[in-house]
C-alpha cells in the first residue's frame, strides 16, 4: 500500500499536470520591485529606529558610549530589579554591581523556575530595524537562549547604533548566515508583548516581558 508521503506526492503531480514538464521553478518570474536598501543618512535611520520602537510603548533612550553603564544601572534601579538574568558573553562593563546576577551558561543553565523568579534580563541584540522599530535576536553573543528574554517580566536591551539597519530586506539579508550556516533561532521583537483580542483594544504585556526598555548606544 502506498504511504501517505507517496500518495500526497502523487496527488500533487496529478493536480499540477497542466504545468509543462520542462518548466523549472525559476521559469515562473518573480519581479522584486520593492525597496531593498534605505538610502537615508545614518542619523536619520537611527532616529527613526528610536521613534518607531517607542511607538510600541517601549521605553527608548539614546546614550553615548561612556554613559552606557550608568544608564543601565539607572534603568535597573528605576525598575527595582534585584535579581538580573545575564546571557553569556555580555560585555563586562554592562554588568551592574550591587545586585544579584543570575548567569546563564552552557555548563550551568538557569532553570525555567529561576528565570520566572527573576526581576529582569539584560541583553544585547543582533540587529535593529528602523522601518518597523524591531529588535532582532539571533541567539548570538550577549543574547543567549530564547527563554532568557521570554520568562522575565522586564527586558532591557542594548542596541548599538551600527547594528541598526534601515529596511526589513536588509535585516533578512544580514541574518542569512546565522540561519543558513548555523541554524540559529531568530526572534523578532517589536515592542512588549501585546494583545488586541478584547474589542481590538491594545493591551501591552500578555505572556512575554510586560516591559521592554531599549538603550541605543553611540
Amino acid at each position: 500500500m502506498a504511504t501517505a508521503r507517496e500518495t500526497i506526492f502523487w496527488r500533487i503531480r496529478h493536480a499540477t499536470r497542466d504545468v509543462p514538464e520542462a518548466e523549472r521553478p525559476e521559469d515562473v518570474s518573480v519581479e522584486r520591485e520593492y525597496r531593498k536598501e534605505d538610502g537615508a543618512e545614518r542619523e536619520e535611520i537611527i532616529a527613526r529606529f528610536a521613534e518607531r520602537t517607542a511607538e510600541y510603548e517601549a521605553d527608548v533612550r539614546r546614550v553615548g558610549h561612556d554613559e552606557l553603564p550608568r544608564a543601565i544601572e539607572e534603568a535597573l534601579n528605576r525598575r527595582g530589579v534585584r535579581r538580573l538574568v545575564i546571557p553569556p558573553y555580555l560585555p563586562r562593563e554592562w554588568i551592574p554591581e550591587g545586585i544579584e546576577i543570575l548567569r546563564d551558561a552552557a555548563r550551568s543553565r538557569l532553570t525555567n523556575q529561576e528565570l520566572d523568579g527573576s526581576d529582569g534580563v539584560l541583553t544585547g541584540c543582533a540587529l535593529g530595524i528602523a522601518q518597523t522599530g524591531t529588535i532582532v535576536l539571533d541567539a548570538g553573543r550577549a543574547q543567549g537562549r530564547r527563554t532568557l528574554t521570554l520568562l522575565p517580566d522586564y527586558h532591557l536591551c542594548v542596541v548599538r547604533e551600527q547594528q541598526i539597519v534601515g529596511l526589513v530586506p536588509e535585516a533578512f539579508a544580514s541574518l542569512e548566515r546565522a540561519v543558513k550556516g548555523e541554524g540559529r533561532a531568530v526572534t523578532f521583537i517589536s515592542g512588549p508583548s501585546a494583545t488586541s483580542d478584547i474589542e481590538l483594544d491594545r493591551v501591552e504585556g500578555v505572556h512575554g516581558p510586560r516591559t521592554l526598555e531599549v538603550l541605543i548606544v553611540g
Binding site: 506526492f9 520566572d116 522601518q131 539579508a173 501585546a194 481590538l200 500578555v206 505572556h207
Partner: protein, 487 residues
C-alpha cells in the same frame, strides 16, 4: 448566540450560509461588536499600507512567489523535508485530518504526556485536533487569549485573527469569573489579560509538549516561522521539550530571503502594524545550545489542498497567508460575522477555500460562493492578490454543474435550470436572440410603464421585486446598425 458544533470540516451536512446568516443578523450585540471592530481595523490598515511606497511591488512579488511555489509544490516539499531532517527535525505526512490527528496524539502518548499547550493554529481547528485529543484522554490548553476565551466558552472562532471578535469585555469578564474562578474582576481589558497571564504561565512551565501551526516554512533552510503578538507562541515553541507543528502543504516558501516580502505584507495586512510584537523563526532542534525543544516534529498535511491545487482557477486560494484583511473589508462579513460561514475559514477567503477543501456537494459549503455581492474589495486588499471574485464566480459555476449532474433528470426540469438553458441558447445564436427581442417587444406592453418595467409576472417577479428593468427599445442596437449600413 447558539453556536454550532458541526462545521464544514465535521462529518454530516452543514447548514447553508443564508440560514445561519439570518440568525447572526438578528443578534444586535454581535452586529455592534463586529461593526466596531471591523471599522477600527480597516482604518488602521489603510494607514499602515499608505506608509509603504512600494506596497504594490511587494504584493506582486508575493503573488508571483506563491504562484511559483504552487506550480512546483512537489519540488519545494521534497526540499523542505530534507532541510528539516538535516536540522534534526522529523517530518510526518498526513493525507487528511484524521491521519494528522493520529500522528499528533501518538507523539503525545509516546512522551507520556496528558496535557499539551497550544498556540493558535487554524490548521488544528480544521482537523478538530482538540476534540480528538480529548477522546484520547489528553487535555489541550489554548494559550492565545482569544482562543482561551472561546475554548472556555465552548464556542468556535468567528475570525481568523481575532477569534473572539464577537464577544465584548463584559461577556469575557463573566466568563473568566465563572471558569477561572477570578474574583472582584473589572472588565478592563488589561485586568482580564492579567488573569489569563497568571493562569497560563503555570501551564507553560509544566508542559511537556507544545503544539503550533506555522505561518511559513522555508524549503531551503527548513526554518519554520510563527507570527504572533502575545508571546504565547514563543512560550509554546521554546519551553516544552517536544514541539509538534502542524502545517498545510501550501505554506512552504522557497528561500530564507523570501521572508523580506511576506514579513512586510503580513503584519500590515492583518493587525495593521508595521511589525507584529513577536515572530519566531526556528530551524530544526537546538542541539547542544539547549535553546528550545530537543525534539521537533513537522506534520505536513494535505486534507483537500491537492484538490484545490487541481483547479487551475481555484488554486490561487492556496496563496493565502491568513492575514484576514479580506474579512475586515467585506460588507457581508461585517454584518453576518464569521459563524454564519460554518467553517474555520470564514469571510471571502473562506467562501472560496472551504468549498474547494471539502469538495462540492455539501449544502453549507455550496452556499458560500453566493455569500458575496462580488464588490471586489477583498481582491483589492489581498496582500498576495488572490482574485477572490473570479474564484467565487468560477465556483458558482461548479456548484450549478454539480447539481445538474447529481440531480439526474428531475433537476433538468427545475424551472431555474430550464430558464437558464433557454437563455444560454438565445444568447449563443444571433437569429434566436433577435427573434426573442421582437417577441419580448410585442409582449412587454402590459408591463412597461413610463419607460421602465417595475413588475414582472409569475416567477419573474422576484427579479423586479428589488430593481427595475429597462424595456426592449423600439429600435434595438442591431436594427440601428443594419439600417445605418444600408444608408
Amino acid at each position: 448566540m447558539e453556536t454550532k458544533k458541526s462545521d464544514a470540516f465535521s462529518p454530516g451536512p452543514t447548514p447553508r450560509f443564508e440560514e445561519s446568516a439570518k440568525e447572526s443578523l438578528s443578534d444586535s450585540q454581535l452586529r455592534r461588536n463586529l461593526g466596531k471592530a471591523t471599522q477600527t481595523i480597516r482604518r488602521k490598515r489603510a494607514v499602515a499600507v499608505d506608509e509603504m511606497p512600494d506596497w504594490e511591488g511587494l504584493r506582486e512579488a508575493g503573488r508571483a512567489l506563491k504562484e511559483r511555489v504552487v506550480r512546483h509544490l512537489d519540488e519545494y516539499l521534497l526540499q523542505l523535508e530534507e532541510s528539516v531532517t538535516r536540522a534534526g527535525g522529523e517530518v510526518h505526512w498526513a493525507r487528511d485530518a484524521e491521519e494528522a490527528n493520529r500522528i499528533i496524539s501518538r507523539i503525545v502518548r509516546d512522551e507520556g504526556a496528558e496535557e499539551v499547550v497550544k498556540v493558535k493554529s487554524i490548521a488544528t481547528d480544521e482537523t478538530k485536533l482538540n476534540e480528538h485529543l480529548e477522546r484520547e484522554g489528553i487535555r489541550a490548553f489554548e494559550t492565545d487569549l482569544a482562543e482561551l476565551i472561546i475554548q472556555l466558552a465552548g464556542e468556535t472562532s468567528s475570525h481568523i485573527l481575532v477569534p473572539a471578535i464577537h464577544k465584548n469585555r463584559a461577556e469575557i469578564r463573566e466568563l473568566f469569573m465563572e471558569e477561572l474562578g477570578a474574583h472582584n474582576l473589572s472588565d478592563r481589558p488589561s485586568d482580564l489579560t492579567d488573569v489569563a497571564r497568571l493562569y497560563l504561565r503555570e501551564k507553560f512551565l509544566k508542559a511537556k509538549i507544545g503544539i503550533s501551526g506555522a505561518n511559513f516554512a522555508v524549503a531551503e533552510t527548513g526554518t519554520v516561522c510563527v507570527v504572533e503578538s502575545e508571546g504565547n507562541g514563543r512560550m509554546c515553541t521554546t519551553l516544552p521539550p517536544v514541539l509538534v507543528t502542524l502545517m498545510g502543504i501550501e505554506k512552504v516558501i522557497p528561500a530564507w530571503r523570501d521572508f523580506e516580502i511576506f514579513m512586510q505584507l503580513l503584519p500590515r495586512s492583518s493587525t495593521a502594524e508595521r511589525m507584529n510584537p513577536y515572530t519566531s523563526f526556528w530551524t530544526g532542534v537546538s542541539g547542544e545550545a539547549g535553546d528550545g525543544p530537543r525534539e521537533f516534529h513537522l506534520v505536513l498535511m494535505d486534507n483537500g489542498r491537492t484538490d484545490v491545487l487541481a483547479d487551475e482557477i481555484g488554486r490561487q486560494a492556496l496563496n493565502c497567508i491568513r492575514c484576514s484583511a479580506c474579512l475586515n473589508v467585506c460588507p457581508v462579513y461585517e454584518r453576518t460575522g464569521g459563524h454564519a460561514y460554518n467553517s474555520v475559514y470564514p469571510g471571502p477567503i473562506g467562501a472560496i477555500l472551504t468549498p474547494q477543501l471539502v469538495g462540492v456537494g455539501d449544502p453549507g459549503p455550496d452556499s458560500l460562493p453566493y455569500a458575496s455581492s462580488l464588490c471586489g474589495a477583498c481582491y483589492q486588499v489581498c496582500p498576495v492578490k488572490i482574485n477572490i471574485p473570479e474564484v467565487l464566480v468560477h465556483l458558482r459555476g461548479k456548484v450549478v454543474r454539480h447539481k445538474q449532474y447529481m440531480g439526474g433528470p428531475r433537476s433538468k426540469l427545475d424551472p431555474e435550470n430550464v430558464a437558464m438553458q433557454m437563455v444560454a441558447k438565445l444568447f449563443s445564436d444571433p437569429q434566436l436572440y433577435e427573434g426573442a427581442q421582437r417577441l419580448a417587444r410585442a409582449g412587454q406592453w402590459p408591463f412597461a410603464r413610463g419607460g421602465s418595467i417595475s413588475r414582472l409576472p409569475g416567477r419573474l417577479a422576484g427579479w423586479t421585486a428589488v430593481r427595475e428593468l429597462k424595456p426592449i427599445p423600439q429600435q434595438t442596437f442591431r436594427e440601428w446598425w443594419r439600417n445605418r449600413r444600408s444608408v
